[in-house]
Symmetry: C2
Amino acid sequence: MDAERAYCPVHEAIQVLQEKWTMHIVRALLDGPLGFNELGRAVGGCNPATLKVRLDHLENLGLLRRTVHSQMPPRTSYELAPAGVDLQRVIDAIGAWAREHLDAASVDDQEPTAAVG
Amino acid sequence: MDAERAYCPVHEAIQVLQEKWTMHIVRALLDGPLGFNELGRAVGGCNPATLKVRLDHLENLGLLRRTVHSQMPPRTSYELAPAGVDLQRVIDAIGAWAREHLDAASVDDQEPTAAVG
DNA sequence: ATAAAGTGCTATAGTTTGTCAAGTAAGACG
DNA sequence: CGTCTTACTTGACAAACTATAGCACTTTAT
């Protein structure tokens, strides 16, 4: 039973942020609002289905605001809400850590260089 | 093609940290070294198989140190390496953000309270 | 008008990832 | 001897994620 696990904000935050693509999405949006496909390209490698699910979740949580500018032609923009913008601190912390401790070659990419010989 | 996407430390860091349970593991270990099952309990809800995979990855990355004290009875301890300890900043940033912006009820848990009526 | 390329978003099927439950080996305790 | 603990493995399975295609519609070019 984890029912006794008292409510812990850090735990909850991690639950949200550890979802695949979520931090990438936030980071991309930190530079300014983007459209759906645009965001998809900025994030790099996330497919529309997953992107939609994440975006819905983030909007639900109040980290994101979705604005429909025109239905036809479709023109939507996704923008961080104040709560989302404040994640800048987290991304910055990650950035600082990464620059200090992460080097290429230590992280194994998704693309394992395929055949070599 | 993401080949042109120049190496970006933040991106790499996010790739690592977004893996399910990774941040929970780091957070648990920030309080001091733990044994395998002990860590599993501290993380809360991660099964041994996944835990082992994450631990191996983290050790590989140099964020974690694994020390075998005795093989039989098995006694192992997992402890953050300096690079791992420095993630304290990231966890702190998440904590600060969470306390400011996250409230119970806004986050839908993995466990939807089951039957209610 | 036709064709190509763009928009936000959805549906389907297939792959990857994570989960559960059980099992292994060895010692301490009763 | 049987039970409990430890670390970790294995195999079957479910959930999550992905690729690919498509929809309704616009713009641009021919």
